[in-house]
């Protein structure tokens, strides 16, 4: 079944096709959610909400442009919406134990560590860092998405970099 057919069947609400679509894209989107969320549990919640929106709005996708790009945008928006709502909770969450306890192979230690560092960043820093570094948005775009000014966006990015840098240096000392 082509992607187009799969999408059309999802538009009709066919559960099998919805599942197939989920299997096809959940990996990519969960990866995104992990980067944009504070921890795995929240990432799963965000993935859930994103797919609900995708299935709800899929009727509006008209096969112009990339479907993957479309669902990624929905996912980012879902996450942003969530953390915009809880702006007042914008404090660093102490989640070291949970994330670090995950057993990993030596070869990808750095990757899961890096992910953990991002997740540990306060909301605004994490979202800004991801939008700027991972997804290549400009400060102007980010300020619009987060409802702040470009100046705030720039300073958020700088703070995010500083925190990440400190963590990496600390880690390097530990390893050494």
């Amino acid at each position: 079944m082509s992607l187009e057919e799969l999408i059309d069947n999802c538009k009709k609400g066919q559960r099998k096709s919805q599942e197939e679509l989920y299997r096809k894209y959940s990996g990519i989107l969960f990866g995104m959610c992990l980067k944009y969320s504070r921890n795995k549990t929240e990432a799963e919640d965000n993935l859930h909400d994103s797919f609900m929106t995708i299935f709800d709005k899929i009727g509006q996708f008209n096969h112009k442009g990339s479907f993957e790009g479309w669902i990624k945008r929905i996912t980012v928006n879902t996450v942003l919406q969530k953390y915009r709502k809880e702006r007042h909770l914008d404090v660093v969450t102490e989640n070291y134990g949970e994330v670090m306890d995950v057993e990993v192979k030596e070869s990808d230690i750095s990757l899961s560590r890096l992910l953990a560092y991002i997740q540990e960043l306060p909301n605004k820093y994490r979202l800004t860092f991801n939008l700027y570094v991972m997804d290549g948005h400009s400060h102007k775009e980010i300020s619009e998405m987060l409802g702040t000014s470009t100046g705030t966006s720039k300073s958020n990015l700088a703070r995010a970099r500083m925190i990440l840098k400190e963590k990496i240096e600390k880690e390097n000392i530990n390893i050494a």
Partner: protein, 478 residues
């Protein structure tokens, strides 16, 4: 560490970071999808339950679509091969009762016949199906519409079937869409059979006959493009029906009076009435639909500043020609206030006026019609929220006609106007806004301007009535 190095470190490692979520996430999504489905469907049906029941009764009584349309979903209930050659097995397709379920049985057939090279010709439309694993099958649907074309069962000129069977049926349309695409890409049809449906029993009997594969294949190629368009149309619910209700404002342009020239200069005020009825529409194409219906509508307007009194010596000269007076109101004298004031200067009238004091008030003319519109509806925006342009004509049949006088809280019947045409027409222009609750239910809101062409057979002055109504209603598509 340099900023860029830091960015790159994260970007290189995590940009395309991919992780498969745990199985539980899908389970939750599935549960939420189920919940949404229920939440969405149930309340609407509760709310619309009454309307649906009403419609069901109407369908039962009126049956506006005749047996031809209505029975089609049932026709395909059983499909059997009556003749088989050595390559074909007997196949039975389980009953199809609903649109959605309709898809399933055919898929089952596809699977069961995977290994045998079988083509089935089936009624409403032809569908050549072939599964992804290079199994060859043709599913061609033929229904009673085709019955008259006997040669089709032998030749199966796809083009003809296509054209002849454009009228359709939802279940088959869905089935065909499913099967069509894969089949057209790589089909090699070796055998083909046609199904003839026994109309009287409403049970389809599949009659397999050998045909030439080449003709089918060629025909498919030629029809490929047309077919896609036709299928899109078939997927729509062509018929829609539903109740509609509207506040209707009736007024007139220009000075004049349909009652008497005396009242030509009097101010008139329109009145607000209710229109309600049932409308039916049929989709000619994706964008264009034609519709009709029956609406009960009342029109009325007031002639202000009227003076009336009762005269003991009613003379024919005092009566207004355009009104057929009721027995009790024969000695009413009705005049325009301005004329009445002018008349008081006349010595002959002053006595008369003194004898019977006149009441000031307004003259109310009411007309009730059965309106049968014939309108075209063109979709400018055809999405969940749609915008349409509506244009057409209405025939109005007079069923109620009265003229009365109102003064203070008193109402006096005068009679009925005799210059109101029993049948008149209006030209209608409007905008339609609709919102799809589901693929079956649509909410409409339509402001429509209707210019009345010949409401009155004779009017004094230029009295051009029109009406503006904001029609709202629910359409059920099927």
């Amino acid at each position: 560490m340099e900023k860029n190095n830091l960015d790159n470190l994260f970007k290189d490692n995590l940009k395309n970071f991919n992780e498969v979520p745990e199985e539980g996430v899908w389970k939750k999504i599935e549960a939420s999808l189920d919940k949404n489905k229920k939440n969405r469907v149930v309340p609407i049906w509760w709310q619309l339950g009454g309307v649906a029941a009403l419609l069901a009764i109407l369908f039962y009584v009126v049956n506006p679509f005749g047996s031809n349309e209505g029975n089609e979903t049932i026709i395909i209930t059983d499909i059997q091969n009556t003749k088989t050659d050595n390559e074909n097995d007997m196949k039975e397709i389980s009953p199809i009762s609903e649109e959605k379920e309709g898809v399933q049985p055919v898929e089952v057939t596809s699977n069961s016949t995977e290994k045998s090279k079988t083509s089935l010709a089936k009624s409403t439309q032809k569908t050549i199906s072939k599964d992804n694993k290079d199994q060859q099958q043709g599913l061609v649907a033929s229904n009673d519409n085709i019955k008259t074309k006997k040669e089709l069962s032998n030749r199966l000129q796809m083009a003809e079937i296509q054209n002849d069977t454009i009228s359709n049926q939802q279940a088959i349309a869905e089935v065909s869409t499913l099967n069509e695409k894969s089949s057209l890409k790589n089909s090699q049809i070796e055998n083909q059979n046609s199904l003839e449906i026994d109309e009287e029993n409403a049970v389809g009997q599949v009659d397999k006959t050998n045909g030439t594969k080449k003709s089918i294949y060629d025909a498919i190629a030629e029809q490929n493009q047309d077919e896609k368009e036709v299928i899109i149309e078939k997927n729509q619910n062509r018929w829609a029906m539903g109740p509609s209700v509207a506040p209707v404002y009736f007024d007139a342009q220009g000075q004049g009076s349909p009652i008497h020239s005396n009242f030509a200069t009097n101010s008139k005020s329109g009145s607000l009435n209710l229109s309600y009825g049932l409308q039916v529409s049929y989709g000619v194409s994706k964008k264009l639909s034609i519709r009709t219906g029956v609406h009960k509508v009342d029109f009325g307007y007031d002639t202000n500043d009227v003076v009336f009194s009762s005269s003991l010596q009613a003379s024919t000269s005092d009566l207004i020609d355009n009104i057929s007076y009721s027995q009790a109101s024969r000695n009413l004298v009705v005049e325009s206030k301005s004329r009445s004031q002018a008349a008081t200067n006349d010595v002959a009238f002053s006595e008369f006026n003194a004898a019977s004091p006149a009441l000031e008030g307004r003259m109310v003319q009411q007309m009730g019609y059965l309106e049968v519109p014939l309108e075209l509806n063109y979709a400018l925006i055809d999405k969940k929220f749609g915008v349409n342009v509506i244009g057409g004509v209405s025939s109005l049949f007079l069923i109620d006609n009265s003229v009365s006088l109102e003064s203070g809280g008193l109402v006096t019947e005068m009679g009925s106007a005799n210059n109101v045409n029993n049948v008149n027409f209006s030209t209608n222009v409007g905008l339609g806004f609709n919102y799809d609750f589901s693929s079956k239910i649509q909410l409409n809101l339509e402001p429509v301007f209707k210019y009345q062409l010949n409401t009155f057979s004779e009017t004094a002055g230029r009295f051009r009535p029109y009406s503006i109504g904001v029609y709202s209603g629910i359409n059920f598509k099927f």
